[in-house]
Symmetry: C2
Subunit: 406 residues, 2 copies
């Protein structure tokens, strides 16, 4: 496996990107990206589970029902989510699909549409149309990183990478980009992930591998399926390498590469979380099952009191136990233990048998003062485990979100 | 019904209070209160549903199992929650019970113990013992407001009131105090409520009336039973007025007074929420049932994105719809409506049929800029309703909680 931190969605063969500054919301930044797959791609997708879904999600679900084996383009805009926009919004999403199909000379049902930004405002379709035409004139296999920039909202860094996987028949490449700037927990702003590969993969296998990778990455920065109106992760496989992923060995190797890329780009969202100054890995073990462990880990990871303690470098572990206790999972508080550290094995145990052990407060505070650290909560009652990633809750988060629209 | 905003737990006949500055955590404030009921009281109680419970909760549950008809004293300390303190913590809570019983000359199982403050630190029992002795020497029927002050943690105002209810047989009085300073959602710091009455009420009826009052007040500022390690609400009825609450008419009148007092003191916690600058009432109607409405209302009320929009006076209703959509309740996004205002009927409709109506942004911003306003979300799909109260999420909240222990 060869890791390429500068890679992108155009790292695999047969993909090209064009972007444009269309002034959808802001004046001086790119806000529209076209991704084109020269050979038609198989496409797997995971969408938000929110009851309120944006027009592009409705459209893409329908499009993929009709055609998930020959997707040729993805058009993405930032600055406007096209959510809560009713029939006009759906018509606008369809118009984006048609305009992209015309610009790239493919059928409309070979085009997927993604939007992210403010909710409840109709798209300025003249600007969007102009952006699609202009972006189509800028298509290049070098422009993948530009797409990662164009889809940003309050993100501060473009998130993209690629990985190459060596298989017996040759090398395939997987590229990707992600965006998502909300604190991620508990109310993430839109998370988008677009992944490409030149491997040849049947769509059913592709969907299974996508589901697995998402469960190991994007779903670990989310809460019990809590998702925004627009969240979408796409995986396109165009087969341009001529190398099939079919037998169990190649599937396993490909999944390894996919997982690494997904985890990297999901973690990148947390690291770039709105106002985030810390990256914290929370592991729960000893639960009755993985689902119970995940509920507890998520409750800890989304607790405002826990996250403000992280921000303040205050090793206030009582808040961690109190959060765990309200996750809706039964456990014996007299059995639990808690450790913290910057690397495995975790250096400092704080709690044993539900009560504090003798440790130096300064040692605990020093770990909480690190930009990255780990928390391990063990129920000592079963085989269930879960790991999630979260950030701290800072003044900057409030500043960003108290006045997002102005 | 006669409302007494300056009333307290000593407004009803037969109750007295003593307080003391015991230096449990801070040097220059009262932190220990004794409440004494001269005639033994029937006592109803509601405790936290958290899996992790503080020693006083464990002790009080056991005490009330043995004796809920002749409670004579409640001892409360602030500055230390006596939670996650193991066997030593339980022994200390028992010691508080015994010391109070000795100081007030009653059996230990006639004493209930409440603690609030930092988790995971053993109580300084010498100071607690000194405080109990000193407080017992200061008992007075005028000192109820002092108890409301002694139980404060990061609360900025003492919360107490009383109400008198006229019944055919005469007047009974209900007094109360509350504290609770966390943002209340989703991770409230300890909420304590202690209520007293001189009415004569059998304990079974008392518990039912307490449960009803809590469901209409303290449970509307909480999340699906999400409670801290120490949350406790007590209602003591000592019968000193000689007036029984027995038939359905007097029960209904008493419940009205009880509800008003509970709602006032629960809302006072939100108004005094950590860093809170706004008080927002959220009503959900048109759900399949009340439980579904409550889930949606709570999800809106606890959303960090919604609460920061409140803080910024930004009428970003898209966040409200997005939060509703992830509450785990199915609904048709094309049917929902949303209105806001400062008084009923709400002045400004923002959303109809899932999409924005034509309104002036300045009008919406003006309402969100008010210190108190209301949000009404209607699913138009059933009879279920719920109302909850919340605050905004401000810089001050982060400041208070990022460095609570230092």
């Amino acid at each position: 496996m060869e890791w390429n931190p500068d890679g992108s969605v155009t790292s695999p063969s047969g993909f090209e990107v064009g972007t444009h500054a269309s002034r959808i919301k802001y004046d001086s930044r790119t806000d529209l990206a076209l991704l084109h797959s020269t050979p038609p791609s198989a496409c797997a997708a995971v969408f938000t589970r929110n009851q309120v879904v944006a027009a592009p999600v409705t459209l893409d679900r329908a499009t993929l029902l009709a055609n998930n084996s020959a997707i040729q383009a993805v058009v993405v805009n930032s600055g406007n989510a096209n959510a809560c926009t009713g029939a006009t919004g759906l018509a606008n999403a369809q118009q984006m699909q048609i305009l992209t199909a015309q610009a790239l000379n493919c059928p409309p049902d070979a085009v997927l549409v993604l939007s992210t930004g403010v909710i409840g405002v109709q798209l300025p379709m003249d600007r969007v149309a102009g952006g699609i035409t202009a972006a189509a004139n800028e298509m290049s296999a070098q422009h993948g990183p530009l797409a990662a920039r164009a889809i940003m909202t309050t993100d501060t860094v473009a998130k993209h990478a690629a990985v190459s996987v060596s298989l017996p028949a040759g090398t395939v490449t997987i590229g990707g980009m992600s965006k998502g700037s909300g604190m991620v927990h508990p109310d993430m702003a839109t998370v988008l992930g677009v992944f490409t590969t030149d491997a040849d993969i049947p769509v059913r296998d592709l969907q299974r591998m996508l589901d697995t990778a998402v469960s190991r990455s994007f779903n670990r920065i989310s809460v019990d399926g809590d998702t925004s109106t627009n969240d979408t992760v796409l995986l396109l496989a165009n087969g341009a390498s001529g190398i099939p992923i079919a037998d169990s060995q190649t599937i396993a190797l490909f999944q390894q590469g996919l997982d690494r890329l997904f985890i990297h780009l999901a973690q990148a969202i947390v690291r770039d979380g709105e106002g985030a100054s810390k990256f914290v890995e929370i592991t729960v073990t000893g639960a009755a099952d993985d689902s119970a462990a995940h509920k507890i880990a998520n409750t800890i990871a989304t607790s405002a009191l826990v996250k403000t303690a992280f921000a303040g470098s205050d090793a206030n572990w009582g808040r961690i136990l109190a959060a765990a206790g309200r996750a809706g999972i039964s456990f014996d508080q007299n059995q639990v233990s808690l450790s913290i550290g910057v690397a495995d094995p975790l250096a400092l145990q704080l709690v044993q048998g539900g009560t504090p052990v003798a440790y130096q407060e300064a040692d605990a505070a020093a770990i909480f003062a690190e930009p990255e650290f780990k928390v391990w909560f063990d129920l000592h009652a079963g085989p269930g485990t879960a790991m999630v990633w979260t950030s701290d809750l800072t003044h900057d988060y409030v500043t960003i979100n108290a006045d997002y629209r102005t």
